[in-house]
């Protein structure tokens, strides 16, 4: 258990490596699913192709969509895409970055399924057994078989127990032929995918590196901001509930008109602390307004008002004060760390 906890901590410390971990797990799950799946070729002329190609392509589609569903950044992307502009402009480059990184990760499990399927060979054997070149591999002139009859016989190649065309074409020859082609396709597919991945990864620093750094930073920022907002709201809800209940008990005490009122459980300083945690939002209407405002009009990405705290209680204007005095002070603050 301790080992698992450590592995979890290690993966979670870096958000990207956590996503990579999920990716790897899905790839392994995909290979395991294929191994556990009981392939069952129908061995009938037209059904073979449909079944074989269906098993080759439908599960990857499902795995791709599952990859998106399991990635909890999808809702973040949708939120960022659909929110009203408010005081903070939207950057399409950030949205593109988020979408691309999610799509890349979601593509791994389907690619693993298709590679494993092709390298195993059963799907291609089932799908294309009727297209085996009999003139090259077998005796075409065996009997005057109609085309339909021949296809019916060839369709039974994947099912060894009921195959009856040993004189037409030996089943081992056909199986070897189709499996060889399937494995060749499989390795070519693997090579193509790795080459694509390599090109995508290596060409990026050659173009748009500065824009990439920007998009990466802001997409992390959006994710962290969302999480912190949820945490802040949870804490706020907790304090709200505490103060609400406390006030209710006090009101009950007063109503019942006791001789000497029961002291509240918490000392006054603690009660004050809880109220402070409310950050001034103390009723339902204001809270609703806050949540609505968070969605409709996200605050601008500008914290200058923090450093020049003025006590006039201004309501979040976006222009910083005294633009001339700002740069110098920032340089000092920045370089003093260096």
């Amino acid at each position: 258990m301790d080992k698992f906890r450590m592995i979890f901590q290690f993966l979670q410390s870096n958000q990207e490596s956590f996503m990579n971990g999920i990716c790897g797990i899905m790839a392994l799950a995909s290979a395991q699913m294929y191994a556990a799946f009981d392939f069952n070729c129908p061995c009938l002329p037209h059904y073979n192709l449909a079944y074989g190609l269906g098993i080759l392509f439908v599960p990857p589609l499902v795995l791709f969509l599952l990859g998106f569903v399991m990635n909890n950044n999808v809702s973040m992307l949708a939120e960022e895409w659909k929110r009203p502009t408010g005081m903070r402009q939207k950057d399409p480059a950030v949205l593109r970055y988020m979408f691309c990184s999610m799509a890349q990760r979601a593509m791994i499990a389907p690619a693993v399924w298709i590679s494993v399927t092709l390298l195993d060979g059963k799907c291609i054997l089932c799908a294309f057994s009727t297209s085996v070149p009999v003139e090259k591999l077998g005796n075409l002139s065996y009997t005057g078989l109609s085309e339909k009859e021949m296809k019916r016989i060839l369709a039974r190649i994947p099912c060894k127990e009921i195959y009856d065309g040993q004189q037409l074409i030996p089943s081992e020859v056909a199986v070897r032929y189709l499996r060889c082609i399937s494995q060749a396709l499989g390795w070519c597919f693997v090579l193509l995918m790795t080459m694509l991945a390599f090109l995508v990864r290596s060409l990026r620093p050659c173009f748009t590196q500065a824009a990439f750094l920007k998009s990466k930073y802001w997409s992390h920022y959006i994710d962290i901001e969302r999480k912190l907002f949820d945490e802040t709201c949870t804490e706020h809800a907790k304090s709200f509930a505490k103060v609400c209940i406390q006030q209710f008990f006090e009101a009950m005490n007063k109503d019942m008109g006791m001789g000497h009122p029961h002291l509240p459980e918490k000392t006054p300083s603690e009660a004050g602390e809880e109220k402070e945690k409310l950050l001034g939002i103390t009723d339902q209407g204001t809270m609703n307004k806050l949540l609505k405002s968070w969605h409709k009009c996200k605050p601008p990405l500008c914290l200058h008002q923090e450093l020049f705290q003025n006590r006039n209680g201004w309501a979040g204007e976006s222009q910083p004060l005294g633009p001339v005095s700002l740069p110098k002070r920032e340089i000092i603050a920045y370089y003093s760390r260096v």
Partner: protein
């Protein structure tokens, strides 16, 4: 558990050993994929060679590319190669060192695949069964050309009806396997000798320059990681402040007593430290762009004030290895400039 934790920490701390670990994992994965792969020689005249050679060489290429992709240092090296010069000159020796170490590590898994497949022999037998001299083997001597080709191409398939009871098949198979294993062991021996010589003879040539390039390549790697971590920390504090400010601005719209402004100010000071003065979107964008287009010089001895307008080209670009001399020169310059500024 303690040992496990120590191993994790050790691997995380030194990125070279992380890379070595990944390289080893990839080599093991290569062996595992080979053993679980169901080799299926087509036993047809022209297809055999294509299949055999394909299985011997295509997976190694894919494994090599995998090795390059999985290695974080390859991206770091490309970034270092392609970045604008800015305040820091580029040293080609470092890029060459990083490139060679990346390629060496990426080559391990493909070589393991090739050697395992040669020592196993199936690929070789499949590919070259049609190319042997039929005169040497009794069963294939007195046949027409086409028949010989057909029979020879069926040698790898033991279960084939033509080959089931054929003793010459075993002879051919043993012969090819022997060649395959000899080739495999020779390649292994050659590679090990080359690796041994390279490692042993390296200190004889230019050891000082080598130590320097190794240091700076580690430095670039560390710097990149720490920059990313710092950006993450910054984003976290930025988000924190943004949200708190949002709550406060909501508060000021309804009239309430200000009770936590003093506390907020202290916190503001502490958090502003973390923010290092970068407090809005434009500044963050500018910081990231400048990090890419003009990396700072490698000199942390004193704070050399930058030109406020950020003229990257005008910065004195300090080359990598020459820090001692340049530190002295920069110290002189900084003293002069500090005096004039104050």
């Amino acid at each position: 558990m303690d040992r496990f934790r120590m191993i994790f920490q050790y691997f995380q701390s030194n990125s070279e050993s992380v890379m070595n670990g990944i390289c080893g994992l990839l080599a093991l994965a290569s062996v595992k994929i080979y053993t679980s792969f169901d080799f299926n020689c087509p036993c047809l005249p022209k297809y055999n060679t294509a299949y055999g050679m394909g299985i011997m060489f295509v997976p190694p290429i894919a494994l090599f590319l995998c090795g390059l992709i999985v290695n974080r240092q390859s991206v770091v090296m490309l970034e270092e190669w392609k970045r604008p010069t800015g305040g820091r000159k580029k040293d080609l020796a470092i890029i060459r060192y990083m490139c060679s170490s990346i390629i060496q590590r990426a080559m391990v898994a493909p070589i393991v695949w090739i050697i395992v497949s040669l020592l196993d022999g199936k690929c070789f037998i499949c590919a070259f069964s049609g190319s042997i001299d039929p005169e040497k083997f009794a069963g294939f001597a007195n046949l027409t050309q086409m028949q010989t080709q057909l029979l020879l191409s069926k040698v790898p398939c033991k279960e084939d009806e033509l080959m089931r009871n054929n003793t010459s098949r075993k002879a051919v198979s043993r012969y090819l396997r022997c060649w395959s294993q000899a080739l495999g062991w020779s390649i292994l021996l050659l590679l090990i000798v080359v690796a041994f010589l390279a490692r042993w003879l390296r200190p004889c040539f230019n050891q000082a320059a080598f130590v320097q390039t190794r240091y700076w390549s580690n430095y670039i790697d560390m710097e990149q990681k720490i920059f990313e971590e710092t950006c993450c920390e910054h984003a976290r504090d930025f988000a924190n402040k943004c949200i708190l400010h949002f709550f406060e601005s909501m508060r000021t719209e309804i009239k309430l007593r200000r009770f936590n402004m003093p506390r907020g100010e202290e916190e503001g000071e502490g958090e502003a430290d973390h923010l290092r003065g970068i407090t809005d979107q434009e500044q963050v964008n500018k910081l990231l762009k400048t990090w890419y287009s003009g990396k700072p010089p490698l000199d942390v001895s004193q704070t050399i004030p930058r030109q406020p307008s950020g003229k990257e080209g005008a910065c004195t670009s300090v080359p990598w290895g020459d820090t001692v001399n340049n530190r002295w020169a920069a110290a002189q310059k900084a003293n002069v400039s500090r005096q004039t500024d104050v």
